[in-house]
Homo-oligomer: 153 residues x 2
């Protein structure tokens, strides 16, 4: 294996912001709601995420290129005998890397990291239109037991 093939999953830094936002935007749903050419709104958001010990925003990097991202949120709670949950949000794989198995590696890493963080349960929601993603999560053992509701406030 050459050095360039090594995949690193690491904490996101502020200088990854442009690559992360580009991936959020390069998506049928994200295209209409992100602004990759203007990072103004993302900078204070990055500071909030980065400064919060419950948030684990990571990037996958190979040969110096950021090719994937996701955010884990640790949520303590009372239900299920005091279970701690991890919520996964904002999973993106760079277009060039789709179908390469990187998504599987990234989610498996996230599950393992959740375990290390003390989680009993990992949960995520996926837009009803993302049927490929649904099959992907089911292959990884996730159970589509819930309906996910959203309200803009």
């Amino acid at each position: 294996m050459t050095e360039t093939a090594v995949l690193t999953i690491r904490r996101a830094r502020e200088d990854d912001l442009s690559a992360i936002v580009a991936m959020l935007a390069d998506d049928p749903l994200g295209a209409g709601r992100e602004s990759p050419d203007d990072l103004t709104a993302y900078r204070p958001a990055f500071t909030r995420v980065d400064g919060d010990p419950n948030q684990h925003l990571v990037v996958a990097e190979r040969a110096g290129r950021v090719i994937g991202t996701l955010q884990l949120t640790l949520v303590p709670g009372l239900s299920r005998k005091g279970a701690t949950r991890v919520i996964i949000e904002a999973v993106r794989i760079h277009t060039d890397e789709r179908g390469s198995g990187l998504g599987t590696e990234l989610i498996q890493w996230a599950v393992e990291r959740s375990r290390e963080l003390g989680a009993d349960l990992v949960q995520l929601t996926s837009d009803a239109s993302r049927t490929d993603a649904h099959r992907f999560y089911q292959r990884l053992g996730f159970v589509p037991s819930h309906l996910g509701f959203k309200l803009k406030v």
Copy 2:
């Protein structure tokens, strides 16, 4: 309106734990996964929730009785131009109070509180079997746009 009719929604205290866990357990799904007669596992979980500034565990109280509960979690993030989300978990209404409009009051309070906390989006998941809950959330403006996946770790 007599004094006993006043509804208060307030931060949960440790001495509410028994009433909260009783409500978590008094539910078709909760019955099999909670232990209301043994609070051992819930006490450290309460401490984690209570000590975390992102968590807002509340109870609804009327005439000194705890009759409802929910937990809000504030989640900063990058997607949707740096939107902050609130996730609602562990919503329960005491059996005696179901159908009284308390659920509506509690969720409307949660949405208003989320707005005050700076949220752009409120989201929750509801087990696929809870069809009454789905209608309830839709009446309150929530859109069932997502599938919710869970994995025990």
